[in-house]
């Protein structure tokens, strides 16, 4: 081993150099992560939480819930939609102008960002939707999540 001949001090100094640089990289990564998270993390509210305290609708707050079945009203522009969001306990009417994702269907998990308008409707500027069948979540009783087309009454044969 060639390093042995240089003596223990030389070896240690070399290892120290690597250690310092390695730790530097790790520390910078961690630091950057903390900086990024401190500015960008946004908290979700459930519909019930928002309805109970609408004044908390500050910037960086999002509301998540489900699209209430049958509540979607799409305008002809394809860019305006109103619907009712629910979390099972509370409901909130939403008005949204913007690009409506294809995953926005009855029962879809949605996240909105925006503010409460004077008429009690929530004016959303961001709408994210996750199709319920996409991630195969399960309902409380262990049944797989029904597909969005499942809940329509089936022919009785």
């Amino acid at each position: 081993m060639p390093t042995r001949q240089e003596g223990p001090i030389a070896v240690d100094r070399k290892r120290l150099k690597f250690l310092v640089l390695g730790c530097g990289i790790v520390a910078t990564m961690g630091g950057l992560l903390i900086v990024a998270m401190s500015g960008g993390a946004t908290y979700y509210l459930t519909v019930a939480e928002f309805v109970a305290h609408p004044e908390r609708s500050a910037a960086g707050l999002r509301i998540n819930g489900k699209v209430d079945t049958g509540s979607i009203v799409r305008a002809a522009s394809g860019q305006d939609v109103t619907f009712v969001m629910t979390d099972g306990t509370a409901t909130l009417p939403i008005r949204y102008h913007g690009i409506v994702p294809d995953t926005f269907v009855d029962e879809a998990d949605v996240v909105v960002e925006g503010q409460l308008a004077a008429d009690g409707t929530f004016e959303a500027h961001t709408l994210l939707a996750k199709c319920p069948s996409k991630y195969e979540a399960a309902l409380e009783d262990g049944q797989p999540m029904p597909d969005h087309t499942d809940l329509v009454p089936r022919p009785s044969n």
Binding site: K14, M29, Y44, K130, G142, V152
Partner: protein, 749 residues
């Protein structure tokens, strides 16, 4: 009756497969202790039998799809009688049970190949490796037999629900199998790694034997990620391809650590260093592969609470914990056999550049892991949901990705042990100049923007606002990416040129022949360089399309023009259609050069409505209109328009939507080298709405500069990876010699 029989064959086939897989573990473990091959042979045959039985079960399920056997719950959920044939087959992995079945089928196929190719080799490692792959197979078969059985049946139903329309895309059909091959492929290197640790044969045999497995898994995972991005781009219609979605992250993490592993084993191969690190990386990569499957399959993503009620989530959690902590414990207990043979000597050496590339790759993987799981941890700890948006991921990862790009240029060129001044000058002066020249040129071309951005960076720094500093720094990323990319491309070019020149001078070969032979005789090395070129192209595509994308939304009447950047678009007209399982409107647009009026091409884009076949009136009306289309009836167009009117009526009646929407993106890619300034650029159009009566349409238009570099880079990556994985006579001789040496040394001991 035949269908009943098929379903029970599939059902019981899975059960017998479980028994076989479990036996392979038991027999392999016993066989490792007992002398003689009897038990080992039995274990290996059990592995082969498992594969046979799983193929049988998968065939049974596919036949259920082909026969429209809607008694099978799985077929009912993911297929329908009007679903085109390829999607009936692809629906096999449209849901949970089928995905798991495909996963374990791939795993048992790979185990069988592993067992077969090693039937006369690696006899000391094989029992343990067989036990590890057997145990993984057993776990997935337990899930398939007891928690998520694919062969559940109910009463016959008239038709199926059908696959989610967004999944009906050829790329989406091959994207999951690709990813699964990647996830699964890492099992074999992991199994050999564990075998090496258990038997204390911690030399380089275990990863050299599995090097091609590693490249294979890494290649499929990488290709799967790119296919997923491509699918998102052409199908989802938001103009982008990567959103730091947890499912995307799940596949990226093992790819990053797998990349680190591929590089760091070179150091162990050459210098006998980093043994612990390599064992750790293979454990980490396999654990992240399982974790990726877990993330996408357990339902934990929608919420921790749905995880608790999900069926396979807890089982996965236990398995994952066993794999990860068990392997770590084993690793710790074997630390004494993992002493390094050399120490790092200089910061300026290939060893240390690889070490830093590893540190960054693993650091990025852990960062992504942390950000992906943080919302779950936060929900568990505080009960509040939190989201980590793409800006956070970008802020953290882009600077490191750029540093990594620098190392892509440095790593392969810098000397081993300690780089001399001469080596540094010879390898890096010219590429460094090229890179700097590109960077400076780009800065000058858009000087005003960069001066403003520098000002913003300085202000932010003076206020100690790190976040603002980084977001102002964003302006510089594309220029830096292009500068660094040019540097890497220059180093690779020089490497090819020097190698070929030696052959031309020494053997008198022609330039083309010399280049070809150079690559063919050193497939691993030059394959690696080609992969690096692919990665640089991917960086270019991401940098330019991410920073310079243009978006417009505009409502147009048929015949109306629209100018976007230096393009002139004209909305020519629309057509109402009813096909397969949808009806809708196709819009045609013509594209011209704005300055000259020269025609460039046509764009077709569609808005589709997928009627819910469970509503009898809608189903009948839709079938009727489709029949009108098939018979070329003049009433076809009116029929489709009637469907448009029928849907809202039925929706009011049913109290819910009876259609799902999907859009077919229209893309025009400029790939002609004659229009150099637009090379690789896409004009990307989606209709937000098309009025069936008047044709007035609301279009969303993107211009995505250089986005095709991303896909081109992917193709280059595929080429390079193929080259690197081809059999290499020289490598084989070396491996055989190393194995013979190891066998002798063990025999002596």
């Amino acid at each position: 009756v035949l269908r009943d029989l098929t379903n029970s064959i599939g059902h019981w086939g899975l059960f017998v497969a479980l028994v076989c897989a479990a036996w392979s573990v038991v027999a392999a473990l016993l066989g490792a202790r007992v002398r003689g091959r009897g038990l080992q042979l039995s274990a290996e045959r059990a592995v082969l039998a498992t594969f046979g039985l799983l193929s049988l079960a998968a065939t049974c399920l596919v036949s259920g799809f082909l026969a429209d056997d809607f008694r099978l719950d799985y077929v009912y959920h993911y297929s329908s009688s009007s679903q085109p044939l390829p999607y009936k087959i692809g629906a096999l992995w449209g849901g949970q049970a089928g995905s798991l079945l495909l996963w374990v089928l791939f795993l048992s196929a790979m185990s069988s190949i592993m067992v077969w190719t090693n039937r006369r080799k690696n006899r000391a490692l094989m029992p343990w490796a067989t036990a590890v792959v057997g145990a993984t197979t057993t776990f997935f078969l337990v899930l398939l037999n007891f928690i998520e059985p694919p062969f559940l049946t109910s009463a016959m139903r008239p038709d199926g629900v059908g696959l989610n329309p967004q999944l009906k895309n050829y790329w989406m059909m091959i994207h999951p199998p690709c990813l699964y091959l990647g996830y699964v492929g890492f099992t074999v290197p992991f199994a050999f790694g564990i075998a090496a640790l258990v038997t204390r044969r911690t030399g380089d045999i275990w990863f050299r034997t599995t090097r091609r497995w590693t490249v294979f898994a890494w290649f499929f995972l990488g290709t799967g990620i790119l296919l997923g991005a491509y699918w998102a781009y052409i199908e989802l219609g938001w103009g982008g391809y990567w959103a730091w979605d947890p499912v995307e992250n799940a596949s990226l993490m093992p790819w990053l650590t797998g990349t680190a592993f591929l590089h760091s084993v070179m150091i162990q191969e050459r210098k006998g260093m980093l043994k612990v690190w390599n064992a750790l990386l293979v454990i980490l990569t396999f654990s992240l592969s399982i974790f990726g499957t877990f993330l996408t399959r357990s339902g934990i993503l929608s919420s921790v609470h749905s995880f608790a009620t999900s069926d396979i989530g807890p089982a996965f959690g236990v398995f994952l914990a066993l794999v990860f902590f068990g392997s770590l414990l084993l690793l710790v207990s074997r630390l004494d056999s993992l002493r390094t043979e050399h120490r790092l000597e200089s910061l300026l050496s290939r060893e240390s550049s690889f070490l830093f590339n590893n540190l960054i790759l693993v650091g990025m993987a852990i960062t992504v892991l942390f950000l992906t799981t943080f919302p779950l941890l936060s929900e568990l700890a505080t009960g509040r949901k939190v989201t980590m948006g793409p800006p956070i991921f970008n802020l953290v990862n882009i600077p490191w990705a750029l540093l990594l790009l620098t190392l892509v240029g440095i790593g392969p060129m810098i000397a081993w042990r300690k780089a001399s001044r001469e080596n540094l000058l010879r390898s890096f002066v010219l590429p460094g100049l090229v890179g700097t020249w590109v960077l400076v040129l780009l800065l000058i071309l858009d000087a005003r923007a960069y001066v403003a951005a520098s000002g913003a960076v300085l202000t932010a720094v003076s206020r100690l606002d790190v976040q603002a500093a980084f977001s102002a720094l964003k302006t510089f990323y594309p220029a830096i990416t292009f500068g660094l990319g040019a540097f890497v491309l220059a180093t690779v070019t020089i490497e090819f040129w020097r190698g070929a020149r030696v052959r031309v001078l020494n053997y008198g070969e022609s330039a083309g022949m010399a280049l070809g032979r150079l690559v063919w005789r050193n497939k691993r090395r030059y394959g690696g360089y080609i992969v690096h070129v692919g990665i640089v192209l991917v960086f270019f595509g991401v940098a330019a399309s991410g920073a310079y994308q243009i978006e417009t939304v505009r409502e147009l009447a048929p015949g109306e023009p629209l100018q976007v950047e230096d393009y002139l678009m004209r909305y020519d007209g629309y057509r109402l259609v009813a096909h397969d399982d949808y009806f809708g409107a196709e819009a045609t647009l013509s594209l011209f050069e704005a300055a000259t009026g020269k025609p460039i091409g046509q764009i077709e884009t569609e808005q589709r409505f997928h009627p819910n076949m469970m509503v009898p009136e809608l189903r009948e009306a839709f079938q009727h209109v489709k029949a009108l289309g098939a018979s070329k009836s003049p009433q076809y167009g009116d029929g489709v328009a009637a469907l448009y009117r029928l849907v809202p009526l039925l929706e009011r009646q049913a109290g819910r939507e009876v259609k799902t929407l999907s859009t077919e993106v229209g893309i025009h890619s400029s790939m002609s080298p004659l229009a150099a300034s637009r090379f690789g650029e896409d004009v990307y159009v989606i209709p937000l709405a098309i009025d069936p009566a008047t044709g007035r349409a609301n279009f969303r238009v993107f211009v995505n500069p250089m986005v095709n570099f991303l896909w081109l880079g992917g193709l280059v990556f595929v080429l390079g990876a193929h080259l690197a994985v081809l059999p290499d006579a020289r490598e084989r001789r070396r491996l055989d010699a190393a194995m013979a040496l190891e066998e002798r040394s063990v025999a002596v001991a």
